[in-house]
Symmetry: C2
Subunit: 551 residues, 2 copies
């Protein structure tokens, strides 16, 4: 290709990262030729809305299609070609080979941006050829068609209880199907810790979704999905949502370096080891914000942000893609579950010494109507007081608190610093001591030794070691549900009755941890050795619950 | 007082700051005697809930009373005495003189905490003796009684359109009264800039509240409030909500140093110039987070946080009260208005060179049902890219964005850094490029010269100087409402038609600023001089609107 032409940037993939790069690039450079090659039928579609069109929440399919090649031509002078699959890259010649319905062609580039995304993993299960996946509008069309058929299935099995699996479960249940969610791990929503994920499972089950955790799918037989334990799950509709893998074949075959999970290695400017080739979005490797390790985080927000950086980089600006926290959120039957950074299990697996905080605050002042309770969790580096991660599950206000903590992490605030954040308070919106402030106050108390706490998974060992467990809730609360073996002494009676505990190591607990804190401080000052069960009865109950319960 | 006794902390005032100090102090020191003296009938009541009991939103009066002396005795061994007014301090003797129904007494202290709060300002208006104020439960009782009387008023005039005034307006309208809100300034909600506050005024007017800005009240005559311009406002019920003043008489008479507005000067440990006396909450002076100047910020959240610090300080811990941003939020007929840090007018008055950004994003992805639009504003220091402040007005998600920005400010992130925040995204909760990210992207474009913008209040001068105003919205949008004199060239037609603009300085605008940005970039690259009207038609329309309109 030696034609006399304008500088040309070719972008492979026309959704989040690719399209952000294309439109930004045009705003930066009116002269450049910008060609977007998309193997599918659609560009710039609403990826994250796909499950909701299946459920009918987003009624119109057209609502998913945010832009068309024509609208992008008119607004941004982009040359967008759908049905164009790039099959190979010739790095020396700086050309890509493109396959279309009409044959193959070569297209030259000055800069090449790989935004090929990630493909759903399809487990090689016998009989699973009929399984659906959910990646693009064509996948949605297939599922919608199956559900509209005369012999439409009445049951659905979803393999994988991550974000997409949960959203599909909700939406298929909305459509009236009997839904079973199958997850190999021992919990739904693996980015969360189990006692937090349990609240999500409760909600799924309360809405009629059958949840099978700790079971791998082994085969598809007729209408059934067969699990490793022999259970047969009705699977009139079968959807695989077990994760995605970077679509990096093109890159690998062209000799570009890849890293974890096969994602394409890039520098802080999203540049690969070929200075003329960038990668962005799910196909590109990220770095983790906590430990700077290679990280595969397939999230739309990162793809969009990094797409913008690629455009800046290609016009010669200095850019720096930041490591990622992996902040994410999902709605499940009115419940919100969100997380940022590392979970407790991840931090412990990485050998970090951590302080863990569970709270159950109201989303706004309890005296104002409509307050609901949420579960929050903060994972703190014990050595530095750095925030490693946070999780939240609740009816309202969870996304706000996780966003605030993600921002605090980016700003380098410590866990104790959260106590001092000035957040907008009126009784409809929060509390004078916001849930995030409270996390900070607990963190500070732990950091300076004002209080000591015990995690739910440490309780059995403590009791086996001779500690006495004291439930400082009221007698009525204790009667409504208690931890086996707990002695009930309401906090307000402790000053009078603490002599009963003489000579024992004491674990106190209340409903959520707050009265427990008061009790532990009181007992400590009265000469006892006392720790507070973090998160109280609620966290313990969620962690140890085997029978479904409403949240 | 030389009796042999335990160390004693006396706290004057038993609401937010005082009660936070008292309960924290008990958790830190079981041995200390803690006496709380409250001149009113109630302690630990829900200050910020008061307007909502008047409106019936909080139905039960008892919901306002969070604690009683008895419950605080049982839980925290506090000696809480209501109906105890401290009338003087003898610093040498370390005693306070207390007046009760039974007479006066002296109480000795080792540490004294002044948490006397702030009192509503009562303008000395002829005839205004019957005016209500809203500070405590007794005030609420009086207003509720007036509204329940046989000759209950059917009209209400509220003087002062700050937070309390707005909440009262909403709640009295809920009760069916014809409400007039009178404000001396030219806008409601003075902490906001006028074009943002206009959206709040629109909402008030849409719900039948009459708003009289720029008018001072001069007298009360019969049932009417008379304004400076001669207008008579029906004021069957009259409430003064013109602000509060620190209740620092005690402190001043005891020779404690005071600063701006008469608030008590304290160090970072909330200690006054007497090492045995602390002040906290509304009575204490704060420092401003932007310029470290003295600042009077009467907010519940700060009182609560600082109360906790006082307790730590009195037991010898090193604490550091941080300067305040003054983050605040108010709900008005379903609309949320929130702000943090400085407004544009405040920054300009302080001589700062600022960059201003207005956006009108959706609270969540537009393709997901229920998305609503909000107005956001960011005030940026032009020299440093530091965030000076932010404001938001909208149906949903405003408090979240202001909290995120307040957190970013505390973490020292720049305006451009907002582009890189990783916020929780699913289509119900936000956008892949969250409204806060978008503010950061605009900030970065302004900082590095990628785009130039013009504020609504700079438009007239630009046009007078010969610039041409180009509306790049569609013809339909233009027909529905346009800025006088604007030439309509839709952005998608600009490449073909830009020759029409040759030789002119160009101001482009669209609805909200986004297409305007694309247009300005395009025109600039095509050799024109173009700036984008910040915030587009919507900001201009709000700023220049004189006729009420729905938001």
């Amino acid at each position: 290709m030696t034609e006399n032409r304008r500088p040309r940037t070719v972008i492979v993939g026309g959704v989040a990262g690719g399209m952000s790069a294309a439109t930004r690039l045009r705003r930066l450079d009116e002269q450049r030729e910008i060609v977007v090659l998309e193997k599918g039928e659609h560009v710039s579609f609403a990826n994250c809305g796909l499950p909701y069109h299946i459920g009918g929440v987003i009624e119109e399919r057209s609502a998913l299609l945010l832009q068309t090649p024509e609208s992008l031509r008119a607004r941004f002078d982009l040359d967008v070609r759908t049905g164009h699959e790039v099959v190979s890259i010739d790095r020396d010649a700086r050309t890509v080979t493109v396959r279309t319905a009409a044959g193959t062609e070569q297209i030259a580039y000055d800069d090449l941006v790989l935004a090929t995304g990630a493909a759903p993993v399809r487990p090689g299960l016998p009989g699973a050829e009929r399984a659906h996946v959910l990646r693009d509008v064509a996948d949605v069309d297939r599922i919608v068609a199956a559900l509209a058929a005369d012999d439409a299935p009445t049951t659905a099995a979803i393999v994988g209880a991550g974000f997409i699996g949960l959203e599909l479960a909700e939406n298929l249940a909305h459509r009236g199907l009997g839904v079973t969610l199958v997850e190999l791990a021992d919990q739904v929503l693996p980015p969360l810790d189990p006692e937090m994920a349990r609240l999500v499972q409760d909600r799924l089950e309360a809405h009629g979704v059958t949840v099978r955790t700790g079971s791998g799918a082994t085969a598809v037989e007729g209408d059934d999905l067969v699990l490793a334990d022999g259970t047969r799950v009705p699977a009139g509709l079968l959807v695989m949502a077990v994760g995605v893998t970077p679509e990096s074949r093109l890159a690998r075959e062209a000799g570009l370096e890849t890293g974890a999970r096969g994602a394409v290695l890039v520098d802080a400017a999203q540049r690969t080891n070929d200075p003329h080739i960038y990668a962005v979005g799910d196909v590109a490797l990220k770095r983790d914000a906590i430990d700077d390790a290679d990280s595969f985080v397939p999230l739309a927000q990162t793809a969009n942000r990094h797409g913008r950086l690629v455009a800046d980089a290609t016009v010669g600006r200095t850019v720096k893609a930041l490591p990622v926290l992996g902040t994410a959120v999902v709605g499940i039957f009115g419940l919100t579950a969100a997380s940022t950074g590392w979970s407790e299990k991840r931090a412990r697996a990485a050998g970090r010494d951590v302080r863990i905080i569970h709270t159950h605050p109201a989303d706004h002042a309890g005296y104002y109507p409509g307050a609901t309770s949420m579960a929050l969790k903060l994972v703190v580096d014990a050595a530095t007081d750095a925030i490693l991660g946070a999780q939240g599950v609740g009816e309202a206000g969870v996304d706000k608190r996780i966003d605030v903590i993600a921002t605090a992490m980016r700003g380098g605030l410590t866990a104790s610093d959260l106590a001092d954040l000035e957040l907008a308070y009126a009784p409809q919106y929060g509390s004078a001591k916001d849930p995030v402030n409270m996390l900070g106050m607990v963190a500070e108390n732990l950091a300076n030794g004002t209080t000591r706490s015990l995690q739910w998974h440490e309780l059995d060992d403590a009791l086996a070691g001779g500690a006495v467990l004291v439930d400082v809730r009221t007698a009525g609360e204790n009667a409504a549900g208690a931890i086996p073996g707990a002695l009930n002494i309401p906090v307000d009676d402790l000053r009078a009755r603490h002599g009963e505990l003489a000579g024992r190591e004491i674990v106190v607990h209340c409903a959520v941890g707050q009265r427990g804190h008061t009790a532990a401080r009181l007992l400590t000052q009265l000469g006892h050795t006392a720790v507070n069960l973090d998160g109280g009865y609620r966290t313990w109950a969620a962690a140890t619950r085997t029978v479904p319960a409403a949240v």
